[in-house]
Amino acid sequence: MINLAQKDIQHTLGKFIVTAMGVGMLLGIVLIMIGVYRGMMVDAEILLQDLNADLWIVQENTLGPFAEASRVHEDLKNTLRSIDGVDKTAALTFQNLQLPAATKPVRVVAVGFDPFGDINAINKKRLIAGHGLTKDHFQIVVSLKTGFKLGDTITLGHDNYHVVGITKGTVASGGDLLVYVSLKDAQRLQFLYSNARIRNDRARGISGGGDTKMVNAIIATLKPGFDVDEVAKNIKRWKHLAVFTRAQEHTILTKNLIEKASKQIGMFTAILVLVSTIIIALIIYTMTLEKMKEISIMKLIGIPNTLIIKMIVQETLLLGVLAFIFGNGFSHLIAGNFPKRVVLETPDALALFAVVIIASIFASFIGVRKVIHADPAAAIGG
């Protein structure tokens, strides 16, 4: 039996492929949107994975440095070690900075940690050039995408920092690139007031020049065999601090912080899928309208509806499949050019494929309806 869909597509192959490419680009954007969401989830977990801490100890009644302002004393890292079950601790600072670059400033999150402490914040697997921090002052490890090279000098505050290491794939939960400086430098950058400010404070009767022995969080690892919730409870009770387990911190990063952004992306994705469905439906409707004379003739000479409907449905499905293939290729082609991480996952692509197929079937109903209502008498009388 002659396959009408195959013949029709062969006849207008160029037009069909261009149409599929157009719809495919739209589907590619849908995949990119999903990829941006996945990228946000991955970004949010990078610091957690690299620091590999069991507990995050932050200022009481706050959610910690990623969600709210948090300040605790640095020396807590020592007293926390005395709590039963705590193995290693480290004091950390997190600070947004604009690194001065040749063209325009690069926005980064600076992680301050003690290079000689128990926990090193730099994941050696991500270090692609140079080395980690080896001194207490004026060294900086930057992310590759900042554009700085080994040996470059970056001026921060009143001091010059030398780039001693380059990392790859290190970003904060918001997608900003990470740089690493020593805790002492980070504390100076974040908490030390300028001379003018100190003089002004003194004139107001305020003593001191800013407490530089503060940090944003203390992280701790536990000795084997200790229950993380029990240890967290102890710290909360005796030290009047907020303590989050790794799982809770994960929830803060992936739910609290990016919940609205992910909902936003979800809305965009849903709208794009809907628009794609409408466009496929319109294309099929137009393709069917273009063939109405032929459809009327086929009905008039006795070709059954099933054969004509089969043609419409097959063409719609093929359009959907081709558009998906183009869209998938398109998304992989452009994913690397986005400023933020885009993670394209096969299950997401398969889910979209299923949605496209269902959408195509719905879209074909419009064409099928036209076929059913096509008047064979329209073929007679010119």
Binding site: M1, I2, I297, M298, I301, I303, P376, I380, G381
Partner: protein
């Protein structure tokens, strides 16, 4: 004695109700024999196409009877559940323009209906080639309609109408888009088909020059159909 292929009795077709009521055909009765080429003439709007659509089981009459071959297909209502199967099995249609399916080549256009009727691809193609050769367009079997001239396309359209071995051919102004020479060729071809294939052919036409080539003329007059011999004058 020739066997009747089409018989119409007291056929009525009206549209609308009340003030909008219009009866286009009112009590038309006529028959067409196998092997006969009959022209159907009438002024524009007199009901030629309506009558053709009723005989072709495309438009339902208001009342009357229609017989196609030995089968009564209409008697106040369609007697078959699926009028499309009657068209598929008994009737071949030829239109003003060729109306070939543009995305099918010549042989696919001709074999589409026989294959739908259950004939194998090989058998339908063999038969199609036979018909195409009959019309001297066998060498165009794999050409697309867009690659053929108007006359060649009209021949393919006639070949398509013959492909399902119909008992009746209904031609709706098949020469309207052709020049005089080609029109004459087409009508002669229809005459040849009527005789050699033993089918009844009704051809709607406005072209007086074609009437002498037909066996008979059916004229719609006062909403009825009258039969006139082609030798008579003042047909239209």
């Amino acid at each position: 004695m020739k066997k009747q292929s089409i018989r119409v009795e007291n056929l009525v077709k009206s549209f609308g109700k009340g003030e909008n009521f219009v009866d286009v055909i009112n009590g038309a009765s006529f028959s067409v024999d196998k092997g006969e080429l009959v022209a159907l003439v009438a002024p524009s709007g007199a009901g030629k196409t309506t009558l053709l659509m009723m005989i072709g089981c495309v438009m339902e009459p208001t009342s009357g009877q229609i017989y196609l071959g030995d089968e009564k297909v209409y008697d106040g209502q369609w007697l078959a559940k699926d009028t499309r199967s009657i068209r598929r099995e008994k009737i071949g249609f030829i239109f003003q323009a060729h109306y070939l399916i543009p995305f099918l080549n010549v042989i696919e256009n001709v074999t589409l209906l026989p294959q739908t009727n259950g004939l194998t691809k090989e058998a339908s193609e063999a038969k199609a080639m036979e018909i195409l050769e009959y019309f001297d367009i066998g060498d165009k079997a794999h050409a697309m309609p867009s690659q053929l001239s108007g006359g060649q396309n009209q021949r393919v359209a006639i070949a398509r109408a013959l492909a399902n071995s119909p008992e009746i051919i209904l031609a709706d102004e098949p020469t309207a888009a052709l020049d005089m020479d080609r029109s004459t060729d087409v009508v002669k071809m229809l005459k040849r088909i009527a005789i050699e294939q033993d089918v009844a052919v009704i051809m709607v036409t406005h072209d007086e020059a074609m009437l002498p080539l037909c066996d008979r003329v059916l004229k719609i007059e006062d909403k009825k159909v009258i039969s006139i011999k082609t030798a008579d004058e003042h047909i239209i």
